[in-house]
Symmetry: C2
Subunit: 276 residues, 2 copies
Amino acid sequence: MVYVTKHSGEREEFDPQKVEYALLRSGADKTLAQYITEEVKRRLYDGIKTGEIYAIAFELLSKSDTHTAARFGLKQAIMRLGPSGYTFEKFMSRVLAEYGYKTKINQTIPGRCALHEVDIVAENGKMKYMIECKYHNTQGMDTGLKEALYSFARFEDLRDAGNDFTAPWIICNTKVTTEAVKYAECKGMRVTSWGYPPQGSLQELIDGKSLYPLTMLATLTEDEKNKLANSGEVLLQDLISMDARKLAEITGVPEGKLKPLEEEIRGIATNLPKGL
Amino acid sequence: MVYVTKHSGEREEFDPQKVEYALLRSGADKTLAQYITEEVKRRLYDGIKTGEIYAIAFELLSKSDTHTAARFGLKQAIMRLGPSGYTFEKFMSRVLAEYGYKTKINQTIPGRCALHEVDIVAENGKMKYMIECKYHNTQGMDTGLKEALYSFARFEDLRDAGNDFTAPWIICNTKVTTEAVKYAECKGMRVTSWGYPPQGSLQELIDGKSLYPLTMLATLTEDEKNKLANSGEVLLQDLISMDARKLAEITGVPEGKLKPLEEEIRGIATNLPKGL
């Protein structure tokens, strides 16, 4: 029995089904998904990190299907955004900023009847959105009607207190149920998720401006990623342009030992095609 | 290491802290809670059911503090309402019926923007409530603002489609956060939970008419309770008045073997004081 170390530090029995399923969901065909899963099993060792497993799968996938590889790598990388420093809210706030929004995260705002935690406030000239981020660190956890309902009730309560939000917006890293989408559309609420809407889904927003999260890198430890996040670097492209000295300074990795990281960054930058 | 068998059938390591904590939360003082926990530990055996553990604690508590015992027994019994046949919705529907409401459970009703599952519809001459039941089978899981928000949004969407509900009502078996109560009161939403409101809390509704759930009985198996629930018997008082032959018929327990059950029913009926 081989145990893997999860993102959170917990240990869990290795389950090849999970790897195969993740590959299939990214669009790999059955034969390829099975082949890669077998390869992953061959390279396992006790205590391996889930991040490493996905890096192996990503590498193998890149060799035969670059489009699927990009989708797979990105989806897994978003799943690995932490509950700690390097959060989905922080990442999405940066992505929205690249699309011209002025953003603020984790705002506490009084409504008429309750005090609300708003994940992101995003405004451009026309719109001021109250954004609810739903982040799940496992596959298959869909965002449903309840989340859509409470986001709308929150928006209403904030508006009733005189806040000038123009619409609520749910952004999530997994799928959204049909019922939730139906309700949101009917209520004029915006929803962005993995695969939805057909134009402007989460992966399109990210890919459209190559805003890949740092968690795509398997060579960085949890701690190193958090250090980077805390100093404001949340994207892969931030690192591409960063000089080795600064990278060493922030992460605490000696300059002489940065080679694997630099190689990985270059590798991913080459592997990620536009328009995934 | 002693393992206990949970309500769900899962096995879990015995944790004396949980017993002590449950006793303290029901109002037992520290010395008594510790003494009872020690006694429980002495009587443990591998594979013991959580229901039996609480029955032992209940019995010991009854001998020295009947009020706390009643509160403790009731709270645990509600926690043991199943995810299967014998549900919290079914129990609460019966309790409300005893208070003069006409009730229906698990209704699917179209709103303006979505199709909603309503746990209980309860109406008397004046009010027609849309009731959302929040049931937790562990201590310390409070119902919070999100639940209050989505219940209200659901109510609004149903009303927008022309449904004649007069107010939403959240009923839950654990505590409700202050923020959720504040929002609910502000929105005209009724909330009934363990300990809230001071007049007419869940325990008062139940105790006011001695509407104790069958799950207070440790001598019944899961299967026997479900059989009773499916034949419409959800309260202890239903059994007190039932003749042995019918009880045997429904539960499948031979008439000759009903003695422990009958003794337990009598015991609890004697132990539960009014006005807990």
